[in-house]
Amino acid sequence: MATTSMQLSREKRKAVFRKVSLPYLYLLPAFAVMGVITFYPLIYQVIISFTDFQTKDLLLQLASPELKKVGVQNYVDIITGGLPVQNFEFFRVLIYNIWWALTNVMVHVPAGVLIAVLLNTQGLWGKRIYRAIFVLPVVVPPIVVGTVWKNIFDEQYGAMNQFLTLLVHLFGQIDPVRIRWLQEYSPPIPWLLPNGPLTLAYYAMMIANFWLGWPFMTLVATGALQSIPKDLYEAASIDGASGAQQFWNITVPLLRPVMIPAAVYGFTLSFNLFNFVYFMSGGGPARSTEILVTFAFDLIRNLRLYGVAAAFSVIIFFVALVVFLITNRITRATESYTEA
């Protein structure tokens, strides 16, 4: 009697064990792959962030006899500006980076919604054509966009200056316009971001990134608009709402649950928009448009400071984590109004 019950319980435990372990078994291959391509580099990077890893150590890596442990010195140098790098202050870059992402989203979302609303007008001719066209920027690689816009803002041959030249000619000006979009250092609106110059390059990049950013927002808003029941507008019009009042009282609040996650996504995208920034301004002039990821890349590519770059990446990781936690919170706070 006793033995059978013990046997039973052993069998039972076995079954339970199998049930619990099975999912992990399934996950094992994925973990193995991730271990090699994600976790190993991650840990390796954290380790070298505490060293003075440089070109000299590339051959023997961690076994290199010249590799010195420097403790948290790299981190301290980054944050206090002790790096052998010109025009670099960590917090200025961080604040610019946040400002860059924020202002982009603040322009893209309203513009995207506005365009979506206009394209959603009943009886508008050629709706499908417009909708096909505005997918275009979404599918063009940011590298191409960055390069093309860099040329557009070229001082000598750029389309922007030529266009402006044409414009001032109409008003009797003879001199060609030669705005140094990507080189001019003195900020046109000095008070806008007091702790760092917002150079002309920033505005040029805002324009270029606008081209890149609004279609996605319009795409999202168009989908959301079509899911707003028409009878809400009819009810509102009977209730006495004008077109503008319907927009503010119905359209905007009902787009909110969809647009906020889209804005959060847009923010993180702009926050780490490496390709575009690197190819358009390269972070210049004088690192005024540098964002964290382009700076980290520069630390390796030009300065060969592997240890510092590793430490910098760890810092970026924590910044990204904070950004993620905040945005995640915002996203979750926007519940949908419809049936749960």
């Binding site: 029941p229 009878d231 809400l232 009819e234 009810a235 509102a236 019009s237 009977i238 209730d239 006495g240 709402a241 004008s242 009042q245 009282n249 119905i250 609040p253 009902l254 909110r256 109004y337 419809t338 049936e339 749960a340």
Partner: protein, 366 residues
């Protein structure tokens, strides 16, 4: 406080004529029900009145003012949508207050009206909730409440009960009727449910294929349908129809339905005399067909031979599905009837209550 008039109103969607020369006059404080089968143009007619669709031609008047070019918000109407169309992001209170806020009504006044309407509808406890936290019946009340607080001249309802379960529908029917008595305002109510129409309306307008068929009080529509469509649409179960001929037989006028022949009583024959030898449709309601053994006193009856096909016991009555030759029809007989499925029997047609329609024009002969 307002009358409503449709004058030669047409509405076309492309080639589709959704509303076809509609002429209706609704008096102040009336409860008019627009009823008809699906797709007949009821909703369209209502939306034209609300200003949500533009009329193709004709005129619509509210309180003797032509409103063809008046915006919905300036027509002084309120509408309850079939979907309720509550603003999902606003609380119940704000849903009801929305129209008043837009009209810049003072805050205390808004509060007074919303609370009052909420009390009338029994939704005081729901005011802070969002629409999605409400049941279908509660949402329906909120939709009505939103209309009430506006204190409009005319209330429009588009099938407001069709999303509710049967029991709640009966209850809300009574409540809307009560509301009408209380508010003393013009109600225009669209439904495809003839029971709803019969129980609530002061007058019913029956519409089919965009055309007004007949407009009258529920009782008159039931007793004196103007044509075949109205006769078949009003009443449940529907009136039985038999194609046949009017014929003279030994000097008496008879209805010859092929499988049976019933003479028309002399006192009712008057209007039919001119139509002898015409093709007609003979109509009789199920409750005017009786079990041979349970015939009410003092009515003229005619015996018709039938076979019982199906019986449905309803408790206080029995529905008999009967076959006479190629005709099948329904009788609503006394619950004591002992007729059984498959039985050959006789039923009695009440010849004081029948209808005869011209087979060609489908108009009632009278």
């Amino acid at each position: 406080m307002a009358s409503v008039t449709y004058e030669n109103v047409y509405k076309r969607f492309g080639d589709m004529v959704a509303v076809d020369n509609l002429n209706i006059h609704v008096d102040d404080k009336e409860f008019l029900v627009l009823v008809g089968p699906s797709g007949c143009g009821k909703t369209t007619a209502l939306r034209l009145l609300a200003g949500l669709e533009e009329i193709s031609s004709g005129a619509i008047k509210i309180a003797d003012r032509v409103v063809n070019d008046v915006a919905p918000k300036d027509r002084d109407i309120a509408m309850v949508f079939q979907s309720y169309a509550l603003y999902p992001h606003l609380s119940i209170y704000d849903n009801m207050a929305f129209g008043l806020k837009l009209r810049k009504t003072p805050k205390e006044e808004i509060k007074r009206r919303v609370t009052e309407a909420a009390e009338v509808l029994g939704i005081q406890d729901l005011l802070t909730r969002k629409p999605r936290q409400l049941s279908g019946g509660q949402r329906q009340r909120v939709a009505v409440g939103r209309a009430i607080v506006r204190e409009p001249k005319v209330f429009l309802f588009d099938e407001p009960l069709s999303n509710l379960d049967a029991k709640l529908r009966v209850q809300m029917r009574a409540e809307i009727s009560k509301l009408h008595q209380r508010l003393q305002t013009t109600f225009i109510y669209v439904t495809h449910d003839q029971t709803e129409a019969m129980t609530m309306a002061t007058r019913i307008a029956v519409i089919n294929k965009g055309k007004l068929q007949q407009i009258d009080t529920p009782q008159n529509l039931y007793d004196h349908p103007g044509n075949l469509f109205v006769a078949g649409f009003i009443g449940s179960p529907a009136m039985n129809f038999f194609p046949g001929k009017l014929r003279k037989d030994n000097g008496r006028l008879v209805v010859d339905a092929g499988d049976f022949v019933v003479p028309i009583p002399e006192k009712k024959a008057g209007p039919y005399k001119a139509h002898a030898d015409k093709n007609i449709t003979f109509g009789i309601r199920p409750e005017n067909i009786h079990d041979e053994n349970f015939v009410p006193l003092n009515i003229d009856v005619e015996k018709v031979a039938v076979k019982v096909d199906v019986t449905e016991l309803m408790g206080n009555e029995i529905f008999l599905y009967l076959i006479s030759g190629k005709n099948t029809f329904v009788a609503r007989v006394d619950p004591r009837s002992s007729l059984r499925v498959g039985q050959q029997a006789h039923v009695m047609f009440d010849m004081d209550n029948f209808h005869i329609f011209d087979a060609e024009t489908e108009e009632t002969i009278r």
